[in-house]
Symmetry: C2
Subunit: 406 residues, 2 copies
Amino acid sequence: MKNFKVFDGNISSPIGFLASGVHCGIKEKNKDLSIIYSECPAVCSAVFTKNKVIAAPLVVSKKHIEDKYAQVIVVNSGNANACTGEQGMKDAELMVELTSKKLLISKENVIVSSTGIIGVPMPMDKVKVGIEDGVKALSKKGGLDAAQAILTTDKNMKNIGVALEIDGKKITIGAMAKGSRMIHPNMATMLSFLTTDAKVEPTFFQNLLQEVTGLTYNMISVDGDTSTNDMVVCMANGLASNKEIEYDHPQKDKFIEAFKFVHEYLAKSIVQDGEGSSKFIEVQVIKSPTEEDAKLAVKSILNSNLVKTSLFGEQSNWGRILCSIGYCSADIDINSIDISIGANNAIVKMFSKGKALDYSKTEASEILKNKDLKIIVNLNSGDKEAVGWGCDLSYDYVKINSAPIA
Amino acid sequence: MKNFKVFDGNISSPIGFLASGVHCGIKEKNKDLSIIYSECPAVCSAVFTKNKVIAAPLVVSKKHIEDKYAQVIVVNSGNANACTGEQGMKDAELMVELTSKKLLISKENVIVSSTGIIGVPMPMDKVKVGIEDGVKALSKKGGLDAAQAILTTDKNMKNIGVALEIDGKKITIGAMAKGSRMIHPNMATMLSFLTTDAKVEPTFFQNLLQEVTGLTYNMISVDGDTSTNDMVVCMANGLASNKEIEYDHPQKDKFIEAFKFVHEYLAKSIVQDGEGSSKFIEVQVIKSPTEEDAKLAVKSILNSNLVKTSLFGEQSNWGRILCSIGYCSADIDINSIDISIGANNAIVKMFSKGKALDYSKTEASEILKNKDLKIIVNLNSGDKEAVGWGCDLSYDYVKINSAPIA
């Protein structure tokens, strides 16, 4: 039983948030500039890519987030402003300046984000017009336009709204994301933005996001490559007038549950969206001595090209799953492992405690025909667990990623 | 100028080594059991897979190698004797016993090795006949048969001989390997065996092999998956009558050079052999602060699916190379990096010190049409370097690895 309600909402659903998405010509067609605006400065939490190659907008945004407050996020698609040297830094700062001037807010309260081609200077004349138009277009109904304007090669928009009650007040969370396994032209970027009208204590909000990122975005694997532009930014403007949510708040768990649900939903949507994937794979590692060991095993399975190709081929190849667990750095006793595959309500155990089982190949074959698959690995050696999501490796993945840069 | 001569030799070329390869029916057709025999106990060095899933023959062989001597290696293909539980251990021990009895040598001097399908019990009746036939067939000319009988899905045999002079004595090294990127039916196993008539001090020999493995087999990447059965075993029987080669031997470097050349040759042959690969990629990371950082960067580039697919598509995508360096755990300053691609004598620098260069796309395109490609990354921050070898990611890789298990 969930303590929140999921509804057809988006980034501008919570009280006091406006949004817009416009076309300014960075991309040939389609919207390419989004603005998310809070009527008052909001508590802001964020996580950024761990890639050592960090795009200019992330360098600027990291600085602006140090005081834990922000009021506006400006995002462009079509150009990542990455590997663009000093000019790139100037351009990111100019985007901040233009936005702050138009909205009459402090530069330190502007977060800037970019996704698209790398190594190419930003067309700042177009971006300038985009910011002007975007500010004019800000509205309570702009959430969907904003979600559209951050997309690059995604097939679908990724929006969600949830509502819950804390201290007798209605709290709304809205969120959107972009990212797909189709990497074009140079790399996949994952962006995720969340707004809420909840009042939240800043340090609690930052710690919560970091913890949740470890359980959601960091547990999806498309091809093991980490982009230069990945970022997740959350704003909480407090206009719902609840008592500030922090570690001692009696209903904090309700908020945590809803917050985690939203990020998990978006993380899975990113994996599900990709062109070139024919299967959505959930990997559960259960009864692990530690959560860290379980996570390492989950990721090793999800990143194995041999596991991924065998799932594309609908082969019940437990040997490759076992092998990928065997070479991960987790402290695992291979002789106590069980490996099962499942889909819907069917499940087949293929390997148990060091030996192959004489399982029904027909049953396994039926399961593997499904689009949504589960791999369950029982380590039989503790009470911790982890779950992660990925996809198979198909001809289309090779096709898409070996194609010329547009 | 090399201090050794490469010749068309094999595992039975050095003085005092005999070999054989026979068909005993583990595989439907083709030879499937090899024996390598030294007339006297030989100094033996070995390295084994680091996968936590370790096949039974490796457990047995590790024990037998503890005293640093061995006299015979018995290898079967067609069945890996992995994930076979207690019976698998008994079968590996029985292979040792049968071989030791037939050759009248101590069980502790027998090394056993298996490659092929996993999770299936060894057909020991067939193996028994194979060992009997293999011992009978041992001969000075048996090296090529032995090299053939260890193959699984390899397209080509991998043999090499080198000769050099130490202390005025002719030293011969012979070697063979198996392994290909086509993974069938469950995982790729890499086996490599080397014989020499040189007299070598046991600890020096073991340390040398470990060091050389780190520079050769551990620097090839086919799909990042490490098998349960990988092993490299070297035997030195001393019959060339040189003074024992150890750390203080004045000509030890000549031996090291030849020994490393042989392993590098075999490691590259494994990468080159694979079905499904259309490009052979050498990655050099130069001017690194440490060798370890350089190795991490080399492996990260070679393992990136995005880099591999772009090379398959002959795209000069420096962004993906940069990105893969950016997320490896090496301590690298991205702003001082140069990235070039080359083939034959042509080379094009695409990226320098944080920025894309305005390089000739036509020239890059010409280079990328070659089968043998080089990626050169200059970190401009030290004097260490590393080199590694891998291949692209093609439709055929997906095709081969998504196919049903035979």
